[in-house]
Amino acid sequence: MASLIAGGVDCDVHPAVPHLTSLLPYLNDYWRDQVTTRGMVDLVSQSYPKNSPIVARPDWRPETGKPGESLEDMQRHVLDPFQLKHAICNPIYGVQMVFSEDMQAAFCRALNEWLAREWLDRDSRLRGSIVIPTESVEKSVAEIERCAEDKRFVQVLMLVMGDTPLGKRALWPIYEAAERLDLPVGIHAGSAYHNPPTAVGWGSYHIEDYVGQAQAFQTQLTSLIVEGVFAKYPRLKMVMLESGVSWISPYLWRLHKFWRGVRMETPWVDRAPLDIVRSNIRFSLQPFDAPPDEATLIRLFDHMQSDELVLFSTDYPHWQFDGQDALPEGLTPDLVRKIMIDNPHATYPRLK
């Protein structure tokens, strides 16, 4: 087992909003009234049903409430035992499912305020991601600019399955703001369910949705690369969160082949997709979706031809590994250091 080292950065932990009413203190009178008068219920995405085994490790599951809603638990389960210097909080509360841009903007603002007051203020190791109301690009940019004043926000957070492919030009002001403010854009697993959760329609099962996250990440990488996001914003980093990693190389081999075949269609993509990924895209470690044998792991990392792509994560409180075994078998000490410390710091300038 590769040994964990102290001072690492956990790039994907999930503090849970206990209930929509937990956001009431951070909403204005109008939205507080909307929530209560209309009897709005908790915004839980079916991407993460509370009692699903994958949503909380058995020993990380609280007796009551949602997994991940207690700071003390997070401290006891990951921040202390993994000797983390920082952990980046990625709330995956269901605000992206809302269709009204006004309501979404109010809820995102409240969610970001809630994160700052109830988590970042209470543990100096924690850093935050800015959840944005993607139904409105203008309001998203405003929320990024508002939150960016607080240097503890280190990233912008979007879902991998939203309304449109992420490379679409209409979204580019978000990327302009992120690059300008030294904020990578984290793309997290999950769907707003505004589109079928697979490209071949609605499946039957929760497990199917979860397996399908990997295919969603693949289509988003294609979109981001071929639309030219990184030609326009070369300093922008994007981090695929809870994406899986074993698909990366074969996926890129295919994209690379077709790019060579039809690059006349997108002439602004003036660098090979493989090179764009190496310079601009990063992936969180968990869920590590390869068999637990060292030989396979060595081949997979060799296929990537880079030791800079992967960032340490526990995906707390999701059940991706047991005990302290967050690092798969076979990583060299050098690679562990890159994954746990060097790569996250190179990706997130605001961690300095």
Partner: protein, 369 residues
Amino acid sequence: MNIQFRESQEAASPLTTKTAIADCDIHPARATRTELYPYLAKRWQHHLEVYGVHAYQGMMEGPPYPKAQPNASRRDAYPPEGGPQGSSLSFMQKQLLDPNNVQLGVLNPLNTGQGIRNHELSAALCSAINDWQIDKWTSKDKRLKASIVVGNEDGLSAAAEIRERAGDKNFVQVLLLSRNVEPLGQRRYWPIYQAAEEAGLPVGVHAFGFGGNPITPSGWPSYYIEEMVGHSQCQQSALASLVLEGVFERFPKLKMVMIEAGFGWAPSLAWRLDKVWQRLRSEVPHVKRPPSEYIREQVWWTTQPMEDPERREDLFDVIKWIGWDRLLFATDYPHWDYDEPSRVLPAGVSEADRDAFYLGNAKTLYGIA
């Protein structure tokens, strides 16, 4: 691929093109718009003239994303007598079958009766294309074998078409496309799997198709390249659905072929399915074994378009994880992203693996002596 993209090629494969091969993905085309009419009732001829096919996509003619080349096909594949690429048997023989010594060529007609909203029309067109495959192709060249094209959205009529053709040696598989109204594991498609299993025919799932779903789970993208690359994600989701709905458990003798969607993603998908299944198997108790076992036992893969790593030997890791016994060589003739048989495998592959890859696996799967 008919575009030169490498300045320095590795040493050419020692394979001479005289070695017999199977080509498991050939696309025969109609020479004229009305070539199927002799196989269609007058009612449907009239219907097509007045209303068109009314597919699960908006264009009356042509694809939603314009292809990179006319008919997505090689510019050098137009038959001398006229007509679109792939529409002439004699030119296909001259350009593909003879020079490459194709011993077995599997026909996968596209733009047929699949992906059409009127399911009666769909069934009529599929039956017509099956008759046409015999008349125009397989009866005239014994190297060629046809696929039973079925009306994909109506499982019962599709099963009837399979049963009607069962035992006809012109046909070696049932053909579906990856993109349908629902993921392919859904119950509406089970009569197809049941009939195919009974007939002892593999079900080929070719990339493409129309089912009305955006080709990404976050909506419609902008470019043809996104659709092209996206076919592998569609195929992954379709295969995940087949596994998780229990199709392979329910039809243990069913064999499926993933056609033209790549294979590099297969190990990763199988690992991911296994890992998540360990956690969530209580939701799918009908999936009794690790998903990778069903995939390893019941799924084959055509090779084209071969993934193309910078270091080509990296692909051998992936092939080893899948199994050399599960790959079926294919060119995709006459499409533009054709894989040239003499170039796809560099030196260093054992003779046994090479033989299996080019011919043996296909003969075994399709029951060709």
